[in-house]
């Protein structure tokens, strides 16, 4: 029966026990012929997609048998389903076992998919891509860290430089303040007491004494514990007696000098120096010099505001 060929035949599980008793009666030759017919139809291109009702016109010269077959198949399907519900067989047990396995696997997979982290089941390429992205990101962040650390170092060294400059400036300021006489000072030095019974020590002698002290490295000089001798100090002797910076100088005159005591004393005592001048017959005074480890000078010089002089911009640095 060549018309028995069904076109929607691609059953995934072709069974050895095929279909009706009628189909089983087909001989190998008939099957061969039918398959040849099928390929012929396919080549000619008149084959319709699959639905069985449509292929009636092509294949069935015996419509009675075909309708009978279709009805038979339909009723067979129903009957099989009914029979399966009523009398389960070995196949159903097997199917149950396999469905059981599929159910377990499906539940497992769903659980893995929902609860597990995304990386456990990811493929190697995806993981590599993720890793690439992460390492690129971390490289970028490391660069940023290095940059920020560099910035921090710069700021720190800037702050250090500023602190050093400030302490330097402060040191400079105290030096200048001592030099200008606006700050009290202390240190090793000498006390020189000039007894002058004839009141013959005049401004010139005193200026000589100050010059000698400065030559010997005196850093701070004070007269009579009240007058600070600075760069602008002036000396005069007139009718009202000895005057330094507008202040009268009482006798005996005491000079306190900060500097190297030995040098200062030598500078005062050398032949033809200040001591011999004062103790000479012309003045007839006495000089008493005592070195001291700690000479404190607390009198201050009141600086005058400069009326004309202004700081000039520094000259351009030579290249």
């Amino acid at each position: 029966m060549p018309d028995e060929v069904r076109l929607d035949d691609p059953t995934p599980e072709p069974s050895p026990r095929r279909r009706r008793p009628r189909t089983q009666s087909r001989s190998a030759a008939t099957r061969h012929v039918s398959s040849l017919r099928r390929s012929q139809r396919r080549l000619v291109g008149e084959e319709h997609p699959t639905p069985p009702p449509l292929d009636e016109g092509h294949t069935g010269p015996e419509p009675a048998i075909r309708t009978d077959d279709a009805a038979d198949a339909a009723s067979g399907t129903r009957a099989r389903l009914r029979a399966a519900l009523l009398r389960p067989g070995r196949g159903q047990i097997l199917a149950a076992v396999i469905l059981f396995i599929v159910g377990v696997a499906g539940a497992m997979q769903i659980r893995i998919n929902t609860t597990d982290d995304t990386y456990a089941s990811a493929r190697r390429e995806d993981l590599i891509q993720l890793l690439d992205g992460l390492s690129a990101e971390s490289r970028r962040l490391e660069g940023e860290i290095a940059q920020l650390e560099q910035t921090r170092r710069n700021l720190q060294s800037g702050a250090d430089t500023q602190r050093v400059a400030r302490s330097e400036a402060e040191r400079h300021l105290t030096e200048l303040a001592i030099l200008a006489g606006t700050a009290p000072a202390e240190g090793r030095g000498i006390r020189m007491r000039i007894a002058d019974p004839k009141a013959a020590v005049d401004a010139g002698v005193l200026l000589d004494a100050v010059e000698e002290m400065r030559d010997a490295g005196a850093e701070v000089i004070e007269v009579n514990n009240t007058i600070r001798v600075v760069a602008s100090t002036w000396f005069s002797s007139g009718a009202q007696g000895l005057v330094i910076d507008g202040k009268a100088v009482n006798r005996p005159i005491t000079m306190e000098v900060i500097g190297d005591p030995h040098s200062l004393e030598e500078a005062a005592r050398f032949r033809g120096g200040i001591v011999s001048e004062i103790t000479g017959p012309k003045i007839g005074g006495q000089v008493q010099i005592e070195p001291a480890d700690r000479v404190v000078i607390e009198s201050l010089h009141a600086p005058r505001e400069n009326q004309y002089a202004r700081p000039a911009p520094p000259p351009p640095t030579p290249r």
Binding site: P12, E13, Q92, A96, F100, A105, R123
Partner: protein
């Protein structure tokens, strides 16, 4: 009836016992499940058409699952795992739809 009960029991057991498979096999489980679904649909279709055989069913089920997993495994080894997995899923999906259409035709004649 019994197969449905088996499926339900499997799902319940899978949810309750939370079994786990080795890490190595985890990427192939989804593909295996799709292949198993294909085999199940094919078996149901064959059953409705009267051509069902338990031996063929078991053999086709196991071979489908193993071949699908093996294809993806080979793909992973040669660097086209993701693409081959997609290909397997597409082919199996087409087969599942074809089988579903046949089942629908056998059940409802439409």
């Amino acid at each position: 009836m019994i197969p449905l009960l088996g499926l339900l029991a499997g799902i319940v057991l899978g949810i309750v016992l939370e079994p786990s498979i080795p890490q190595v096999l985890q990427p192939y489980l989804p593909i295996a499940i799709v292949a198993a679904m294909d085999a199940l649909f094919g078996a149901f279709r064959a059953y409705l058409e009267g051509t069902f055989t338990d031996r063929v069913f078991v053999v086709s089920f196991i071979s489908n699952v193993l071949i699908a997993a093996a294809i993806v495994y080979v793909g992973d080894q040669i660097g086209v795992g993701a693409q081959l997995a997609t290909a397997v899923v597409v082919v199996l999906g087409i087969r599942i739809f074809t089988n579903a259409a046949a089942i629908r035709r056998a059940l409802f004649h439409a």
